[in-house]
């Protein structure tokens, strides 16, 4: 039990500390692919440090909710990172929240940030909140359907058990998981505000979604939000890896496998991050009202995956 707690704390801290590195890697790859000279991979850490040192500038009209929301978002993402098995499967916090609760954690963070965006009362803030809720109400059920497919296969909604079950099986046996994996990729892109749904580096009012919500934040609050964003990307990537490519993860009680698991996850994240930046470079951002079609496709794919499970594998 105590080893489990130690492993839990270590893994969560590792996720929190490494998350900006993944973000830096994605940005670096993207810059290379676009033919720009790339910022160093540690650039996100430098930005965070700079932001933490600055004075926070807050609008006169901000309520306590506005100042509380970044902490809430950060806490939710830290918990989410704690639940998802990255290097080890034996996590003592995981019984507290299964995959449905994981979706709930993401929703909690999102609702708080959307409310905070509406708090100042600027047109961009409310616009961002509305668009972000639009994206999420389509993405959230699709994500649940992906999880449902995985949990129908493993007869459980507990992530460690899903991962352990899937790690012992070959990919080809489950066509439903292929559908689920495509849907999951699309959802991750949308939820992490990446191209083609949202562009993290734009501030154009016609296109921005997530950035519009956090326009009024500065300094430490912005730093926490950015960090939480990096953590979210990390968590989603780790989740995708755990569900669809779980090989190499250290299963219950297998301490000796930890170094190998760490190497495996780093390699998988590096490949995944490069793939994400490649997809971003080759695709264009879609119009806002094409986003429901994009996510509707993801939702349908996920439901199809579940139906296929019932039809072919049930």
């Amino acid at each position: 039990m105590s080893a489990g707690i130690l492993l839990q704390v270590a893994q969560t801290l590792l996720a929190i500390l490494l998350a900006p590195l993944l973000m830096g890697w994605v940005n670096q790859c993207r810059a290379w692919l676009q033919g720009r000279s790339a910022p160093p991979i540690t650039q996100p850490y430098r930005s965070l440090r700079k932001l933490f040192h600055k004075d926070a500038v807050i609008a006169h009209t901000a309520s306590p909710l506005f100042r509380f929301a970044p902490y809430m978002k950060f806490a939710c993402m830290a918990l989410a990172a704690g639940i998802v098995p990255t290097i080890a499967n034996d996590l003592s916090f995981s019984p507290a929240a299964d995959v449905i609760a994981l979706v709930g954690i993401f929703a909690l963070a999102r609702v708080f940030l959307a409310l905070a965006a509406m708090d100042i009362g600027t047109p961009f803030g409310t616009l961002g909140a509305r668009r972000d809720m639009l994206v999420s109400f389509l993405a959230e059920p699709a994500l649940l359907m992906v999880f449902f497919t995985a949990s129908l296969i493993s007869q459980s909604t507990e992530l460690p058990i899903i991962v352990a079950t899937l790690a012992h099986k070959a990919f080809a046996i489950h066509p439903s998981l292929a559908f689920a994996a495509v849907a999951f990729w699309m959802i991750s892109v949308a939820e992490n505000a990446r191209i083609p749904v949202d562009n993290p580096s734009t501030h154009l009012e016609l296109t921005m979604i997530h950035e519009a919500m956090i326009l009024e934040y500065s300094a430490r609050h912005l730093a926490l939000i950015e960090w939480a964003g990096a953590l979210k990307l990390f968590t989603y990537s780790a989740l995708g890896i755990a569900l669809f490519l779980p090989w190499g993860i250290a299963l219950q009680g297998d301490i000796a496998a930890l170094p190998l698991a760490l190497a495996a996850i780093v390699a998988k994240l590096a490949v995944g991050g490069a793939a994400l930046s490649f997809m971003e470079v080759v695709s264009a951002k879609v119009r806002l009202f094409r986003v429901p079609e994009f996510l509707g496709t993801a939702f349908l794919l996920a439901v199809l995956g579940m139906l296929i499970h019932f039809l072919l594998e049930g």
Binding site: V57, A97, A107
Partner: protein, 670 residues
């Protein structure tokens, strides 16, 4: 043990005494017509005590075996039969618990009302409460229908409290009409259920055997009758009209509690009286429930009146409950007792949750209405600064109804989704195809509910006041705050201690399905089936969130600093900003309207770009009204017009009518 047994005999007497007490409180309000102070400071607090007492009776009723009694009131040969079993006791706790908070709130809410109408309102209010409890206690069709009518009529008078406004009279009429169509259907249900014995006690109905045809007929009639009360699509049209029309505590009571009497009735008839064995009707209820849930939440998203938004959200929640009911029925008839127990637990849990969070949200809008005199969300905004108590307490309700952990809405949703995941293994293969789609619909409705609540809360309480007068909005009075605190506290506790609640629900689940949930063993960890299958621990979750928030806060302060500078909002450097540039309620609902436009008839007036005083109006109406109700109304009007031809207004004609009728009757009776 003998002590318990003696209490057992008296608990039903006490419940009936509570009903009489409420009637007494209601009628004594009439005597105090001129004493305004006493009405708010005495009558409503006394009513609230009654509610607490009822909740206590309910708790006792859950622990004790069922007891029944016969009251020699009513017609000579038809005494009232009363019975308190686990099912009625559970709904009594729901009623008492929610009504206590709402009635405490009402002590403050009605302080500015004139004494005369207030006395009348207090009478109807307590009659309404007494009627609802009697519905729960009734053990024969006669008592049930009498109580059902008392409930319907008293709530009609409550809805039409502001009867001078034509829309409210119209809403009241629609409510009365559909309530009575539903009541006729219930009357027929009981007619079928008594099976030709001529004995209308529930005990006889329990024992009688039915052919599949007649039990189907009884079930469908009951689904229609109780569905009309609960707001099941397509018989939901009265709900978004009537609930917002009533004063806010009454809306809270109607949405939070009255709708649940319909759920009670449905459970009572299906599982207790009918002992339903026909699973395919479960599929019908599941489908209707899912349609209702989705339809309700889509329309909630496009509303611009805050109380109407909540009314549509009630339709959504009722849909989820009816879907759970359908699933329970499917499992129950398929011989999957443990799964039926799980689904029924989710159903009861959600019913209980909805009473508290919807009550809280409705009374919250009541305080906003009092402080600002405005129901249109597009004229509100920024109230978190002037009304912090109302705003923060309402936030709890909004997060709970959006199904966010660790509050109570999440628990019931989680249980229901678990039930969907356990379906493989049903004997009918077509169900295995239906269930994933059903689960997807529930998930979609839940995600949309979060959208609706962000809109509701953000537009009313956050942002900047859209009207300068809102700067002077006053905070809710102390009784109002206490009432809201009670309801919000219930939302939190029901969210944090699910295992205790589920253990406490066990007698009801055992009574209706004959099974109990197997996995509950640890009070900290909610494991409905087994720990390997699924688990959820809200307390640990809350501790985790709190710990990380606190640690992050301290760490940022310690390592860096806590300096804050206040300035104007930045807003991308846009120079001219005013409060009208924030999203209005219509604006926030616009994406939903665009996506789901097929269900609505949208009317829009968009202003000219050169208009100096632009005015925008958008209205999204229910298409079902046009498709179903408008033709019926037109037909009725046409038939009336035809009948009106007989009415000439000339006395000769009327004398001829009487004469012909007389001759006809003489010929006929001879």
């Amino acid at each position: 043990m003998s002590h318990l047994a003696s209490l057992d005999a008296h608990v039903l007497d006490l419940a009936w005494a509570g009903v009489l007490y409420w009637l007494g409180v209601g009628f004594s309000a009439l005597l105090l017509q001129r004493r305004h102070g006493l009405l708010t400071r005495l009558i409503f607090p006394l009513g609230a005590l009654g509610a607490l007492f009822m909740a206590g009776i309910g708790v006792a009723g859950l622990l004790l075996p069922a007891s029944s009694m016969v009251l020699p009131i009513g017609l000579p040969d038809l005494p009232f039969h009363l019975r308190l079993d686990a099912l009625s006791a559970f709904f009594m706790v729901l009623l008492g618990g929610a009504a206590f908070g709402i009635t405490v709130y009402a002590c403050g809410y009605f302080r500015n009302m004139a004494a005369g109408p207030l006395a009348l309102l207090a009478l109807w209010y307590h009659l309404f409460l007494a009627g609802m409890v009697t519905v729960l206690l009734a053990d024969d069709a006669y008592a049930f229908m009498v109580a059902w009518e008392v409930m319907a009529l008293s709530s009609y008078f409550l809805v039409t409290t502001d009867h001078k406004i034509p829309e409210i009279r119209r809403a009241g009429f629609l409510y009365l009409l559909i309530a009575h169509i539903g009541a006729v259907s219930l009357l027929l249900t009981f007619g079928v259920l008594q099976g030709g014995h001529g004995d209308y006690t529930f005990n006889t109905m329990r024992l009688s055997e039915m052919t599949p045809f007649w039990s189907s007929a009884a079930f469908l009639l009951a689904l229609f009758g109780f569905g009309a009360k609960a707001g099941l699509v397509p018989i939901h049209v009265w709900l978004p009209e009537a609930h917002p029309a009533a004063p806010s505590p009454v809306s809270a009571l109607m949405s939070g509690v009255m709708l649940k009497t319909a759920i009670y009735g449905l459970l009572r008839v299906t599982f207790d009286l009918l002992k339903m064995q026909l699973g395919w009707w479960g599929t019908l209820a599941l489908a209707l429930g899912l349609v209702t849930a989705l339809y309700g939440v889509i329309f909630a998203a496009v509303q611009s009146d805050m109380k109407r938004l909540l009314a549509w959200s009630s339709i959504e929640n009722i849909g989820v409950i009816i879907a759970a009911f359908g699933l329970t029925l499917i499992f129950h008839t398929d011989g999957k007792g443990a799964l039926a127990a799980l689904t029924l637990t989710a159903l009861l849990y959600h019913t209980l949750n909805h009473a508290f969070f919807k009550g809280l949200l409705f009374v919250g809008t009541g305080s906003v209405l009092h402080a600002t005199g405005e129901r249109r969300m597009g004229r509100l905004g920024g109230l978190i600064r002037t009304m912090p108590w109302t705003a923060w307490l309402t936030l709890i309700g909004a997060l709970a109804i959006a199904g966010l952990p660790p509050l109570n809405g999440f628990v019931s949703e989680w249980l229901l989704l678990q039930a969907f995941l356990l379906t493989p293994g049903l004997t009918q293969p077509y169900l295995n195809m239906v269930i994933p789609v059903a689960a997807a619909t529930v998930a979609l409705a839940a995600a949309l509910a979060a959208y609706v609540m962000v809109k509701f809360y953000g537009v009313i309480f956050l942002g900047q006041p859209r009207d300068p007068a809102l700067q002077h909005a006053h905070e809710a009075s102390w009784p109002e705050r206490l009432g809201m605190l009670w309801l919000a506290g219930a939302c939190i506790l029901l969210g944090l201690f699910p295992t205790l609640v589920i253990q406490w629900l066990e007698p009801v689940v055992l009574m209706l399905t004959g099974q109990r949930l197997s996995g509950i063993s640890n009070w900290l960890l909610l494991t409905p089936v087994s720990a390997e299958r699924a688990s959820y621990a809200p307390l640990i979750f809350l501790a985790g969130v709190t710990a990380v928030v606190a640690l992050t806060y301290l760490w940022v302060r310690r390592v860096y600093h806590g300096r804050v500078r206040r300035s104007e909002p930045w807003d991308c450097g846009y120079p001219e900003q005013n409060t009208r540039m924030q999203d209005s309620a219509e604006g926030f609902g616009q994406p939903i309207r665009q996506i789901f436009e097929v269900f609505m008839r949208v009317e829009r007036e968009t202003p000219d770009p050169f208009d100096r005083h632009p005015h925008y109006r958008g209205d999204s109406r229910d298409k079902l009204w046009l498709l179903i109700y408008q033709p019926i109304a037109d037909l009725t009007a046409w038939l009336s017009m035809q009948a009106a031809r007989l009415q000439h207004g000339r006395i000769q004609w009327y004398l001829i009518y009487s004469f012909v009728t007389l001759i006809f009757l003489l010929v006929f009776t001879r």
